[in-house]
């Protein structure tokens, strides 16, 4: 009985205070650089702020202006197009690559896997630089090949109709490996006996793929889709480096508009409103994931 107060104190110190102490450094940084900024962005979105004078409350004017601003509506449209045309091809190709690599007869799998995955390791900046060279109208790889084949050369990144598809191609090349790795993990998780049973029943390889493989990896497909959506809506580096939004705004995206308005035109309030539109889109996708995603079988 005598040492009870002491033990009580020690217990309190052990579990409660120390627990907080452990998360303190993280939480301090997190609060200052993530939580407060989220609320601050919310506020700034309703103000006119140019870094010089104090923010001026303007209500929803920034939002009205953004949706009338052709640059921003084009950026929204571009970002959606970019997402759709990046996500589907890179998922389908990623799955095909994964199925081919899952084949037991294939030799040198590790090398293939590394090759497919490599674009994903290097920075988007480096990848963009390499593709800038590939697309270069005068001395680039692509036009040199076309010339050698006596075909018409193109101004890949300088043609308003070709610029976006060119940027998208880079992204498909870049994202394919990631999808492949995740799919590969999923494929290896499918029990072998399902295929054995199907083979006994006389189902063809193609039939097995559609009736066993596809349904079994559905949760992974959903997961990859959501992740790819969130990532695509944040596209910036490749656009900034390869085209800077041009020609005639054909490749500008939401984040590109945020960057330009905030850090080149100093329209902090206006850019914050755009940032909130982005937040709204990504949050919707994430909530959609929580609601319909099969959390149990997620890879997380």
């Amino acid at each position: 009985m005598k040492n009870r107060p002491k033990r009580f104190f020690r217990k309190k110190l052990n579990s409660e205070r120390i627990g907080l102490l452990f998360i303190l450094p993280n939480y301090l940084i997190y609060t200052v650089f993530v939580l407060i900024p989220v609320i601050w962005t919310l506020y700034l979105g309703f103000t006119d702020y140019n870094l010089m004078s104090a923010p001026k409350w303007v209500g929803i004017q920034n939002y009205v202006q953004a949706f009338q601003d052709e640059n921003f509506t084009t950026a929204l449209m571009n970002t959606f197009l970019f997402s759709i045309f990046t996500i589907f091809p890179s998922m389908v190709l990623g799955l095909i690559a994964a199925v081919l690599l899952n084949n037991k007869l294939l030799k040198g799998k590790a090398i293939f896997r590394a090759c497919y995955y490599m674009p994903n390791i290097i920075s988007m900046v480096a990848a963009s630089m390499v593709w800038l060279w590939i697309y270069d109208p005068g001395h680039g790889l692509l036009n040199s090949i076309l010339m050698a084949m006596k075909m018409e050369t193109k101004d890949w990144l300088f043609d308003p109709f070709l610029a976006m598809p060119s940027v998208i191609l880079v992204n498909i090349w870049n994202g394919l490996g990631y999808n492949m790795i995740i799919y590969l993990a999923g494929l290896q998780g499918i029990p072998e006996y399902l295929y054995e049973a199907a083979t006994v029943d006389g189902a063809s390889k193609l039939r097995q793929f559609f009736t066993i493989t596809i349904p079994m990896i559905k949760p992974i497909t959903f997961f990859l889709f959501v992740m790819a959506c969130i990532k695509s809506f944040q596209v910036f580096d490749q656009v900034f480096i390869m085209t800077n939004g041009g020609p005639i705004n054909s490749t500008t995206t939401i984040v590109h508009q945020i960057y330009q308005n905030a850090f080149q035109y100093n329209k902090m309030g206006y850019a914050s409103a755009m940032a909130l539109v982005l937040l709204l889109i990504t949050t919707t996708i994430t909530l959609f994931n929580f609601k319909y995603g099969n959390q149990e079988s997620d890879i997380i």
């Binding site: 579990s15 480096a126 390499v130 060279w133 993990a185 910036f236 940032a275 982005l278």
Partner: protein, 267 residues
């Protein structure tokens, strides 16, 4: 898939007249010109860019591993008031794209009191902008890291803690003596994901720095394009060199890398 990389290396090895001479394209360089790499590095203060990138990556990776695993351990294993509530706020960070918070982050960096000529109210100077602080400190925290560490520690048997407590072991000692030595897999995969993310980052340093001496390697690549015409052989040489460190890390730790992606799934 590898063609762009091979093209990159071959272009980096070509003599400039070989690139710019019309109608004589060949994929392979005719004369292998290693000197391009040296000349490319001499065109800009690359030693500075590399020092910056190495330093930032090193400090962020070591620091964030410590901080994130501390927090992950605490959220998984210790009880304290408001724990679940605080953890919920960490999860919010998973949903917020970094570009959404960049404007206030910039303003906060600029308004750091007593730094960069600022007074105590954070007025008058540039604060933490264009310093290592801006590039390192925010990256030390991370929702994904905390989340993954928590998941990892939740998998440890509860009896471990109880045994430690009965033996009179404080949570600090329990972390350092029991959890830390058993954390190698999560350190490895998290460390690699973080290394690649920090080394490759472009947007954040682009916003937070403006002087030559604070540039990272990714920003440095822009040098060759701002000066009118592009010198492809030099740009490709520099791109190759910037890519090599992360490639080495990848090839050495491929197993952990793939593991990291699998367990996280999130990037």
């Amino acid at each position: 898939m590898m063609l762009p990389f091979i093209g990159m290396v071959f272009t980096a090895l070509k003599a400039s007249d070989e690139i710019y001479l019309a109608n004589s394209f060949s994929f392979f360089p005719k004369a292998w010109r290693i000197a391009n790499f040296i000349e490319a590095m001499n065109l800009a203060p690359w030693h500075r860019y590399f020092t910056n990138s190495f330093f930032i990556t090193f400090v962020v990776v070591i620091g964030s591993l410590f901080f994130n695993s501390f927090a992950g351990y605490s959220f998984a294993r210790l009880k304290f008031p408001g724990r679940d509530f605080l953890f919920f706020f960490i999860l919010i960070g998973l949903m917020v794209p970094p570009q959404v918070t960049i404007i206030p982050q910039f303003l906060i960096m600029r308004a750091m009191p007593f730094f960069g000529g600022n007074n105590w109210l954070g007025q008058g100077g540039t604060g933490w902008l264009d310093t290592y602080y801006a590039l390192i400190i925010p990256a030390l925290s991370g929702s994904i890291g905390i989340f993954l560490c928590r998941q990892f520690y939740l998998g440890f048997p509860k009896a471990l803690d109880e045994a430690a407590r009965i033996d009179g072991c404080s949570p600090f000692r329990a972390y350092f003596m029991i959890y830390m030595p058993a954390s190698k897999p999560i350190y490895a995969s998290l460390g690699i994901l973080k290394t690649v993310a920090v080394w490759n980052d472009f947007f954040y340093p682009l916003v937070m720095t403006n002087s030559e001496k604070m540039r990272t390697v990714q920003l440095g690549l822009q040098v060759y394009r701002s000066s009118g015409t592009v010198q492809w052989e030099y740009l490709m040489a520099a791109t190759t060199i910037v890519t090599i460190p992360v490639l080495i890390v990848f090839l050495c730790f491929q197993r952990y890398f793939v593991q990291g992606i699998m367990t996280s799934g999130i990037k």
